[in-house]
Amino acid sequence: MKPIRLEAELLDARAVARQMVRLRLRVGPCAIRARPGQFVMLGPLAEGMDPFLNRPFSIHRLEGPEAWELLVAEVGRGTRMLARLEPSARLPVLGPLGSGFEPPAEGELLLVGGGAGVAPLFFLAEDQLARGRRVRLFYGASSADRLVGCEALAARGARVEICTDDGSAGFGGFVTARLEQALGDGSDWLAACGPEPMLRAVTGLARRFGLAAQVSLENRMACGTGACMGCSLLLAGGPRRVCVDGPVFDAREVF
C-alpha cells in the first residue's frame, strides 16, 4: 500500500526488557496492509522543533486488526522520549514505508536477528507461521535481560535459538557462531536484521553455504519517502535509498 500519515493513538508503552520498550499504536484498518520488513517514521516527537527529525522504526508485529507494535531500544534522546510516553498520547506516524522481505514459496525460513534488529523478524515470522511455514529464528542479544518475546514466538510454532554474548541465556556467543553450526541442513533462504558486522558475517555464511539472503539495513533518514536522498548507500549497483529501495536488500547487493 502507499504510505499514509496519521495520528496514531498510543495504546500502551511497556518496558519489555532492559532499555527496550514495546509501543502499541492504533493506526486503524490500514494496519493489516503492511508487509513484514516495512517501517514507519514516528514524529514529530515534541511540540517544539527540537528534536527536529522523525525517527524510523520497523513494524515489529501486527496486534489485532488495527494496531502496530514497535520495539524500541532506548539509545538516545528520541527513543528515551518515546519510552516515557503515557498511554493515549497521540503520535504522528508515516507508513508503511519501504520494501518488505520476500521469502520464497517453499522451505524452512531462517531468520537472524541481533538486538533491536529482531524487531521486523517477528512480523515476518508470525506472518509466515500463519501461512503454515516453518520458521527458525536465531536471536542474538548482549544478555538475557535484553531478550524480548521469545516464548510467545515459540508458542506460535517458531523454533527460537537464543544466543547471548555473555552466555546468560541460550548459546553463549555471537548469533553468527550458532548460525554457522546450524547451516547446511537444507534451508536455502535467510533473512537478517541487526548490526552491520553481524549482517556482513551472516552474508558471508550465506554465500559459503549457498543460501539466498535478504538483509534489512539502517541509515540516517530525514524523509523516509525517497525524497531527500539522505539515506542512500553507495552500493555496487549505484546509490540506493534505504528508505524506498530498501530497507530490505538482497545481501549480495550490499556486501
Partner: protein
C-alpha cells in the same frame, strides 16, 4: 461586505505562480515521492532536486545529521542526471499541476549553459533555479555563489541559454549577500532565491567521528530562519528583482514573516520531512490569514514590515 476572491498569484519576473508557496529543492524529490501524501495540486510550484548534466552518486553515508532545531545534510547532489530526468521524472512532474521549476547545478559555466539549453527545449518546464550555493560538492556550487562576479557570470550564461524564467539561488555564507544579489540581478534574471543551507558540522563526541561522511554539510531548518529572513530583507531592499524566501519555513506565520521582509513567494524545505503536508498547510494558513486581514491580494503583504 463583498467577498472578493483573494488573489494568491505570485509574480517572479516572467514566472507567474498560482500560489506563492513552493517546495524547496532537494526536499521534495521529484514530487512523486509525496503523491499519496500531499495535495500536490494546491502548491504553486515543485522545485526539483538539483539536476546535473551527468548522473551523480553523491557523498558517502552518513549524509544526514540532526542538529538543534534543524539538520545537516551532505547529500552531494545525488541525482539521475539530465537525460534520465527528462525521460523518467519530467513527464510525471508535468502532470502534477504545480509549475515545474528545475534546479540545476554544474561544475563549469558551460555545464550550466548546457543544462539550460536542454531544459529550454524539453517542454513542461516552467522555470530554472540555478544552484550556485550548494556546500556539498567539490566544484561548482558554492564556489560560484560566493563571488559576485562569478555568480553573475553563471546567471548570465543561463539567462542567455534559455527563454525560460531564471531564478538564482544564493548562499548566506558570504560577507555581503546584497553585493552578490546586485551582481546577479543586473544580469536580468527573474528572481533571487534566498537562501541555500549554511555550512555546518557536527561531531559525535564519544566516537570523535564527524556526523557526516563528508564532514562539512549544509544546515537547514528552523534554526536558520532568522538568518534566512535577514538575507531576504537585505536583498529585497537592494534589488528590484523578485525575491523568493526559503530557510526554516514550516508554518504560515513563518511565511508571513518572509513576505513582510520582502519575499514575493516562499519555499518550504525540510519542514516537509517532519510533516509531508507542511507546504500545503503553510499555503492554507496564509490564505486564511490574508482573508482575515481583508486584503485582496497576497502581494499586498510583500514588504509590509513596520520599521
Amino acid at each position: 461586505m463583498v467577498d472578493l476572491e483573494l488573489d494568491m498569484r505570485a509574480r517572479i519576473g516572467r514566472l507567474e505562480l498560482a500560489k506563492p508557496v513552493m517546495t524547496a529543492s532537494g526536499t521534495f524529490g521529484f514530487g512523486e515521492e509525496y503523491r499519496s501524501l500531499v495535495d500536490l495540486g494546491a502548491l504553486g510550484a515543485i522545485v526539483t532536486k538539483g539536476i546535473s548534466l551527468r548522473p551523480r552518486a553523491g557523498n558517502p553515508a552518513p549524509r544526514i545529521a540532526e542538529t538543534p532545531c534543524g539538520m545537516l545534510n551532505a547529500v552531494g547532489l545525488e541525482n539521475p542526471g539530465l537525460e534520465a530526468f527528462l525521460r523518467d521524472k519530467l513527464p510525471g512532474l508535468r502532470e502534477m499541476g504545480p509549475a515545474v521549476v528545475v534546479n540545476i547545478l554544474g561544475d563549469t559555466l558551460e555545464d550550466y549553459a548546457a543544462l539550460a539549453r536542454a531544459l529550454d527545449g524539453a517542454g513542461g518546464v516552467d522555470a530554472l533555479e540555478v544552484n550556485i550555493s550548494c556546500p556539498n560538492v567539490e566544484r561548482g556550487g558554492l564556489a560560484f555563489g560566493t563571488d559576485p562576479a562569478l555568480a553573475a557570470e553563471v546567471a548570465a550564461a543561463v539567462r542567455e541559454s534559455t527563454r525560460l524564467p531564471v531564478l538564482v539561488k544564493l548562499t548566506p555564507d558570504v560577507t555581503d549577500i546584497a553585493a552578490v544579489a546586485r551582481a546577479v540581478a543586473a544580469t536580468g534574471v527573474d528572481g533571487l532565491v534566498c537562501i541555500n543551507t549554511l555550512r555546518g558540522m557536527a561531531i559525535d563526541p564519544l566516537s570523535g567521528r564527524p556526523r557526516l561522511g563528508k564532514v562539512i554539510g549544509g544546515l537547514s531548518g528552523p534554526a536558520i530562519r532568522p538568518v534566512a529572513l535577514r538575507a531576504v530583507f537585505e536583498v529585497a531592499r537592494e534589488v528590484d528583482t523578485a525575491v523568493v524566501g526559503v530557510g526554516g519555513i514550516g508554518c504560515w506565520q513563518d511565511a508571513v514573516e518572509f513576505l513582510r521582509a520582502g519575499a514575493v513567494a516562499v519555499q518550504v524545505g525540510c519542514a516537509t520531512f517532519r510533516d509531508p503536508s507542511a507546504a500545503v498547510m503553510v499555503l492554507r494558513g496564509l490564505e486564511d490569514f490574508l482573508k482575515g486581514l481583508g486584503v485582496r491580494s497576497c502581494s499586498q503583504l510583500v514588504g509590509a514590515v513596520e520599521l
